[in-house]
């Protein structure tokens, strides 16, 4: 009997012991087989001498991060096969640093290099174009890396080179406004900055040619740009802006004057960007992903009057509080690109983390059309047809239209019988003079039923052009922003707001059925300006409603 009791006790004890003993081995094995090769890596981030606290440590391209403690120490658990082996670190004031993890459970040290704390005014801007584009075939053949496009040609350079930023210094319509020329190059054609101020370069370069404006913030002659300066807002320029601090007076201070440029000293290089995990010579700049980064050029005043207000319009919108930035929409990842330097050492990344450099804006019809929604309701009442149009700014993070005040929307309302006869309009809302006067077939819509949306500037004083015979400036309406102006009216539609307007027509029973057509078009400039300049600009249709009234 005793032996049996003993066994009853011992066997379970032994089994439990066996299980416990086995688990010590197999648990680890089980883990390993489930997650491949789970590893813990620990180490210190230093500047070469002293540890750096509060440095952000990351396994490159992942979201596996840690922040170093007071002693500069970090600890990360990662998967070698799934996550790669590049360990990176960053701290404010330093370049990004990185080190390859070569062995398991090894203590690593990541050394960060200090950034220069001064801007170098003698820095030579790097050209964005790939060497083969610049016909530097020798360099291309030798696979030498000297320009942005040598590594970033297929993705970023291609996206950028047709967008507004690349053309800001050479856009022919901009130059026509600057020089006072028309599309054929004839001089003396208003509006023209140089016609109004023949002895001033203006401060246009502070935003339109910032790589040149660094030479002279009072203003560089836009006709005398050299080299990379002609490429407008190019790669090297943005990626040398470390931070932005908006200065108070936005008439005196514009564009580059709000930016903290940090061009590297000789024989050094630095690129500021949105990643902490691209090692030296890159450095993380937190502001680059914030709307504030765009504000220096997309917010500005002339003669004390706010002209460019995209940033403040966004700030006042619900999007700012929600943390939806300019970049979220205008540099939205294309969800397809996974590597922005393929074959050149670029790492594969989650496509959602790669911003597009297309910078969609006023030249992209689909993008513009997606910003608004229009609803038209026509109701007959006795002998009148009452048309209600509601236009909602559904998707833009700012007013529609925004930025340059010459941008405008025109709403056209047409009511025609089956025979094509226009109904008689008895309403008050008509398209203003800046919708163009003349043949409607040429896009001149002044006086037609409808509405115009724009910020309209008018001149306060007649001004004297500097000349030896006192000469008053030619009056231009709407006035260009560089004259001494006031805002006469501003009926643009804020983010998520709806504009309602009403149009009344005379209608008789015999007119029915009537086709009611409303069309909202976007124009990059006022029709009367386009006519003066002989610009041939297409109207972009944002919305169109066609209803039949029976």
């Amino acid at each position: 009997m005793r032996q049996k009791t003993l066994l009853v006790v011992l066997i379970p004890m032994f089994s439990v012991g066996l299980i416990i003993f086995a688990s010590l081995f197999t648990l680890e094995e089980l883990n390993a087989s489930e997650s491949g090769d789970a590893t813990v890596v620990i180490g210190t981030v230093t500047d070469g001498k002293n540890p750096l606290a509060h440095a952000v440590v990351k396994i490159a391209t992942t979201t596996i991060t840690d922040t170093t403690d007071e002693h500069g120490r970090f600890r990360l658990a990662y998967n070698k096969n799934a996550n790669g082996t590049l360990l990176t670190a960053w701290k404010e004031g330093y370049y990004n640093g990185g080190v390859e993890i070569k062995e398991k459970n090894v203590e690593l040290e990541i050394v960060l290099t200090l950034l220069s704390d001064k801007d170098n005014p003698n820095y030579q801007w790097v050209d964005p174009a790939p060497s083969f584009v610049l016909k530097r075939y020798a360099l291309a053949l030798l696979n030498k890396v000297s320009n942005c496009g040598d590594c970033h040609a297929s993705i970023i350079y291609e996206q950028w080179r047709n967008n507004g930023h690349a053309q800001s210094a050479t856009n022919p319509r901009f130059m026509d406004l600057y020089n006072g020329t028309d599309v054929d190059g004839n001089a003396g054609m208003h509006p023209g900055f140089r016609l109004d101020y023949p002895h001033s370069n203006g401060n246009c370069s502070n935003c339109h040619a910032p790589a040149a404006a660094v030479r002279n913030m009072i203003g560089v002659d836009m006709n005398k740009l050299e080299g990379v300066e002609k490429l407008g807002v190019s790669c090297d320029f943005c990626h040398k802006v470390k931070d932005v601090h908006l200065r108070e007076n936005m008439s005196i201070n514009s564009g580059i004057m709000h930016m903290d440029l940090r061009r590297p000293p000789e024989n050094h290089q630095v690129f500021f960007g949105p990643y902490t995990d691209v090692p030296h010579p890159d450095a993380f700049a937190p502001t680059i992903s914030k709307s504030l980064y765009c504000a220096p050029c997309h917010q500005g005043s002339f003669w004390g009057v706010p002209i460019y207000e995209s940033y403040s319009e966004w700030l006042a919108s619900p999007y700012a509080a929600k943390g939806i930035t300019c970049q979220n929409c205008h540099m939205h990842p294309d969800s397809v690109t996974t590597n922005f330097a393929p074959g050149r050492g670029g790492l594969e990344r989650d496509p959602k983390t790669i911003p597009s450099h297309f910078d969609f804006g006023s030249r992209d019809s689909a993008f513009l059309a997606s910003s608004v929604k229009m609803e038209t309701i026509g109701k007959t009442d006795d002998d009148s047809l009452r048309v209600n149009v509601a236009i909602t700014n559904t998707t833009a993070g700012h007013h529609v239209p925004t930025d340059q005040p010459m941008r405008n929307l025109i709403l056209l309302v047409r009511a025609t019988t089956a025979q094509g006869k226009e109904l008689v309009y008895s309403g008050e809302n008509t398209i203003p003079y800046w919708g163009g006067s003349g043949d409607p077939a040429d896009g001149n819509y002044e006086g037609l039923p409808g509405k115009g949306f724009a910020k309209i500037l008018f001149e306060r004083n007649p001004q004297y052009v500097s000349s030896s015979k006192s000469e008053l400036q030619t009056q231009i309406s709407p006035s260009p922003q560089w004259r001494i102006i006031n805002i006469q009216s501003d009926n643009r539609i804020p983010a998520l707001a709806t504009d309602h307007s009403v149009y009344n027509f005379h209608i008789r029973t015999e007119d029915l059925p009537v086709t009611l057509q409303t069309e909202l078009i976007y124009r990059r400039t006022f029709k009367n300006w386009a006519t003066m300049k002989k610009w041939n600009l297409k109207d972009i249709v944002l919305a169109k409603n066609i209803t039949t009234i029976r």
Binding site: G219, N461, Q463, Y464, S470
Partner: protein, 344 residues
């Protein structure tokens, strides 16, 4: 060459001929006579004996022309967008139509741009009289941060580089482009900006129909002991060129104390220079801060005795004028607008 003078008669005839030539040269429109002196023809109503032209800056046609060129030249400002004419706009009574002037980059400052009309008859310049001549006034806006934001060195360099001024400066001053010359030329030009031959002037000269009934009653009130505008707005140019406190702006927090900021004399607290009343209908809004929009606002302001403050002029007191009387005064003020051709 010596010509022996045959007789006294011949020499007398010669002298007579020369005198006639000199006299002929002295008559007619503004021009430079044989002696090189420019004589400004003043319109009706202005007293030529009251002109002030400093001895070291005589008027010549060439200098005035140079001054006019500079007056309209925006290169005097740092970025080439602001000229004297920007704030002293000929179309706006040589002011700018603003309550407070606005300079480079749209910066606004605390006082309004005074008119340049009839400064020929003045010495002190600026609302606070801080300089004693037009020559001393001209360089100040050029260097003021809010106005043209430039430096004399930069102005000289810019004008020299333009190549448009070398010859003029050589001809007028015998020197290269200089800040001193710029100031003198602009001052000379400004002295030609005169306004007269107004309905009031014609009335005073004997044309009894020149003033309307209302304006005539306004004139009587203007000169009366009861209303006594002439106390400060005295003489043919309607200013004593002195400084008074009528209370304008003294009710603001941190008021503009006018001449006090220059002299630090307690009695100068809140005092500003009396401006001319000529051309007032062209230079709204009124007062050093542009706080009064219309002529009626101005009359109402004086009617209530100005704005009470510790240093209010003892000449300010409520006038208790009827609406008709106030309208008459406004009609009179309107009759002071000059009709002479100002061919600048």
């Amino acid at each position: 060459m010596t010509t022996p003078i045959q007789s006294t008669t011949q020499s007398l005839q010669f002298i007579l001929l020369l005198s006639v030539l000199f006299l002929m040269a002295g008559c007619g429109e503004n021009h430079t006579s044989q002696s090189g002196k420019y004589s400004l023809t003043l319109p009706l109503g202005l007293d030529s004996t009251a002109q002030y032209i400093p001895a070291d800056n005589p008027m010549t046609a060439a200098k005035i022309e140079l001054g006019r060129k500079l007056f309209f030249d925006a290169r005097l400002s740092l970025d080439g967008t602001v000229s004297c004419a920007t704030c002293h706009n000929p179309s706006l009574g040589f002011s700018d139509g603003r309550a407070r002037a606005m300079g480079i980059y749209g910066q606004e400052f605390k006082r309004s741009a005074p008119t340049l009309i009839n400064r020929l008859f003045s010495k002190d310049q600026f609302w606070d009289g801080r300089v004693k001549s037009l020559e001393e006034q001209a360089p100040q806006p050029i260097q003021n941060e809010l106005e043209m934001r430039n430096t004399p060195e930069n102005v000289e360099r810019t004008l020299k580089a333009s190549g448009e001024y070398q010859e003029d400066f050589q001809q007028v001053f015998g020197t290269d482009v200089s800040m001193d010359g710029i100031a003198k030329a602009i001052a000379a030009f400004e002295r030609t900006l005169v306004s007269g031959n107004s309905p009031y002037d014609k009335f005073k000269a004997g044309e009894t129909t020149a003033l309307t009934e209302s304006a005539r009653r306004g004139l009587t009130l203007f000169e009366s002991d009861r209303v006594n505008c002439v106390k400060c707005h005295t003489g043919f140019n309607f200013t004593d060129e002195k400084f008074h406190n009528n209370g304008t702006g003294q009710d603001q927090p941190q008021p503009d104390l006018g001449r006090f900021e220059q002299t630090k004399n307690d009695s100068d607290r809140g005092v500003f220079k009396t401006p001319t009343l000529r051309d007032m209908s062209r230079t709204a809004p009124y007062m050093h801060d542009g706080s009064l929009r219309t002529l009626m606002d101005v009359i109402n302001f004086y009617n209530k005795g100005g704005i009470p403050n510790q240093h209010l002029s003892k000449h300010m007191r409520p006038l208790n004028l009827t609406e008709e009387q106030r309208t008459d005064l406004v009609a009179f003020l309107r009759a002071l607008s000059g009709t002479n051709t100002l061919d600048f």
